[in-house]
Symmetry: C3
Subunit: 347 residues, 3 copies
């Protein structure tokens, strides 16, 4: 159950989402809930038949639903909408952003800022935050408690850094970048040269550039480039515990699910989808809109728009046929050994 | 070598574990050690023949062993027990919990507590801890240095948060929950809708509920529900670097090994065992007591009590037969191409 | 582009690396760059033909290149070297270590040190660092902001801990160990005994020992031993998000790439290479110089010098033949069912 920062009447909510309203417009709503936990002040939604009985049984004070459910929901307060789920998600985003706009921007006295670091007027710097020298932080950016930012970093406007985020020297974040707790941006790429029995560290002197509207999940790590920049393109979303190696370049609006790992110098196109735990070898190119199934191991370039799956990753149609045949492999092997035995008996 | 918080005589230790004692009961013991590092004040144990010579060669001052080794260990101080390993582990747990009971509970002056946050009388809040508003923290709970807890969180009694743990708003921890360093609880679920070429963020307004006696390993991430709750059942143990997606529901006393990843809305039963690096797709159901081998990729529901393995995960018996046959696949293919060639030559 | 801490003349750089110099020795250089971002104060390098046109088009003020490119690069300032990449990397390491040698060592007043903890004269302790009791920190060691170190820890000389590193009680780091942000050293091993329906925690009373010249990537976790020590050998390099289970023993100069997971009590030799996302089961032994391909699942001991790949990991030659045959499995299966059908029609 998510408490709203203030009460809304059912009529106000209906006006916000411009649906057809049925019921008592003065009924007060103060939270959004799952039907099972809803109370008389709850807003819920109903879009699929399989959730009808749950919605019907709930105590919710207001239901956003499609036309087909309207007559069946008895005398509940209803808002009729074609796409209840989408509408309610946009409504909640709106309500939460309203709350954020009332936030008190402030720099905690327990934070430390380096020389020549410049904060725009409305920035929130949490407790125990440490920011290095020569940084610029854009307005309405929020830096959560215990974050540490190195020297020479640039953060755009309206960024949101959750607590305990680590940003190394020279990193660049454009506007509206969201980094969840424990994210590490700009740690050294993993590069060594074996010389006379010792792994010699290759200095990592590039940086990380994160374009606008990127969101990065908890404890994900993005390494700085050896030379040049590791780049995350505009609008790309990266889940928790993902590893992005040095010098990777990721395009726009791509989706990298949890625990994906990219080795160094790999290029990912726009609108690419990598499912959970996918691994991609280094120096590869994944074309725009390619989709790769969970746990796949990508060891060669992938075509734009292709669908891939498997270890190693293959065209999804071929892979499905391989897996279907594989189930019969024990039987085939038995037949094969039998025929070989038969063959031998002829000798 | 683990130093005990105080000295024990061999006789006191024998009394604590109620075994048969042989030797000098006044001998002082102040640590528990591996046989190879033991000194005359060390306690060690011996349960398996293969470790006999190591134990025999050690300088340990006290050995807990089974009856069969008693006569062979010369004139060492001995305690005879049927299950030395189990007994010694319980002894050490007892000694460590005694030490913890003497801990000085205190709230560091460098910590910050939000409005209406309420601590029970005996709580330890470490340096630089930041706790939001409207939280409740139960007695004898320990919050390590640099932890950050959001608003509206409830922590039970006897919880132990190691340093640098991050807990987002609205999270609930019941009693005796242990969170290791770098754990993130309640970060946003990974959900977007592609609208007109842009990934629109679905607001994540649920929470995380962790039931009693759960332990969670370092840098593991557990996402909040989109709506409702992500739930970890009583007594379940989760290893390091595990990812639990939004709206997952995990049962009681299950074991999730390191680097396991669960996509969203998956349900795991009681006493389930997921080995290291297992991936489970979203919206699945894993039955009670199911066991899944390391690195398996689970893409469909699993039966209670079943044993599974592979990518994709299959019944372990079938999978073993597939793997056995697979080794012969190159030979089978050679025979197949030969027979095809023979076939063609007849055309 | 990496700014140097001071300006160098082209002649000074040439003297440092002892190459043949062509051009204006007084030209000032203040950064190292990728050719595409270079300006007239940039140093770049050229070693491979495929990067020639990029280097030719760049505005770099100084190019380190091999003899073959010298005449083709027009009137640029050049240093001729046999191995430009290696030479430039060593040069940058030298320049960066010079900068570090000028660092002002200092203990932040916002840090907290426990009783009997002893810092060598030149140690840098960052903001909000918390160090427990009875620790020893060697000279020229740098402890980044918000790190937390437990009791009874020993850190050698010239270690570098990036921010937000967590080190549990009793850990030992030798000289020149580098830990990147979010690393956790010494968290409890994952061990439970199921007793009467409940997972009983096995106390984890060993420690972690990290030998000299080890580097460990962001958010990697290394568990303490149950008894004894988890050991990382001299010069071994571990990437981001790696999991090392309790009681593992890793040899010298090995390479563990990102997201590798080792279950408990596994022994890894010297000069071993584990590619990204490799999983290794518990209680195994991986021989010296063994190499394991990405995402492999190692379920048995591996021979020294062997090359392995696959799930489960097999000799790389066998695995390549299996994968080549596997592509034809659908066709083989079709032929098999047809022949079976033919067979049946004879009945």
């Amino acid at each position: 159950m998510k408490r709203f920062p203030k009460d809304y009447t059912a009529g106000e909510i209906s006006a916000l989402i411009q649906g057809e309203f049925i019921g008592d417009p003065s009924h007060l709503i103060d939270n959004f809930a799952d039907p099972s936990e809803a109370n008389s002040s709850s807003l819920i939604f109903l879009e699929q038949e399989k959730f009808f009985s749950k919605a019907m049984a709930s105590k919710a004070g207001l239901i956003i639903c499609t036309q087909e459910f309207a007559s069946r929901l008895g005398n509940s307060n209803l808002i009729i909408q074609e796409k209840p789920y989408f509408v309610i998600m946009m409504l909640i985003s709106h309500i939460l952003s309203e709350a954020r706009s009332k936030l008190k921007y402030d720099v905690s006295p327990s934070s430390k800022l380096g020389d020549n670091t410049c904060l725009a007027p409305d920035v929130l710097v949490g407790n125990n935050v440490v920011i290095g020298a020569n940084c610029q932080i854009g307005s309405h950016t929020i830096i959560g408690a215990n974050c540490v930012i190195g020297d020479n970093c640039i953060l755009g406007q309206d960024c949101y850094l959750y607590p305990n985020v680590n940003i190394y020297d020279d990193s660049v974040l454009e506007d509206r970048v969201i980094l969840h707790a424990g994210v590490v941006i700009g740690s050294d790429g993993f590069g060594y040269l074996l010389q006379e029995g010792t792994q010699i560290k290759i200095p990592q002197v590039g940086n990380v550039i994160i374009h606008a509207d990127v969101e990065i999940g908890s404890n994900t790590t993005i390494d700085r480039a050896t030379i040049g920049s590791t780049i995350i393109g505009e609008g790309t979303k990266i889940d928790n515990l993902v590893q992005i190696g040095h010098n990777c370049i990721i395009g726009k609006h791509s989706i990298l699910c949890s625990q994906v790992g990219l080795a160094g110098s790999t290029t990912i196109g726009d609108y690419v989808y990598l499912a959970g735990q996918v691994g991609v070898a280094g120096h590869l190119s994944i074309g725009d809109k390619a989709m790769v199934g969970a746990q796949s191991g990508v060891s060669h370039d992938l075509d734009p728009g292709g669908r891939y799956f498997g270890y190693p990753a293959r065209d999804v149609k071929l892979m499905k046929r391989i897996l279907a045949a594989e189930k019969n492999l024990p039987e085939m092997y038995k037949a094969y050994t039998k025929s070989k035995g038969d063959g031998h008996s002829h000798d």
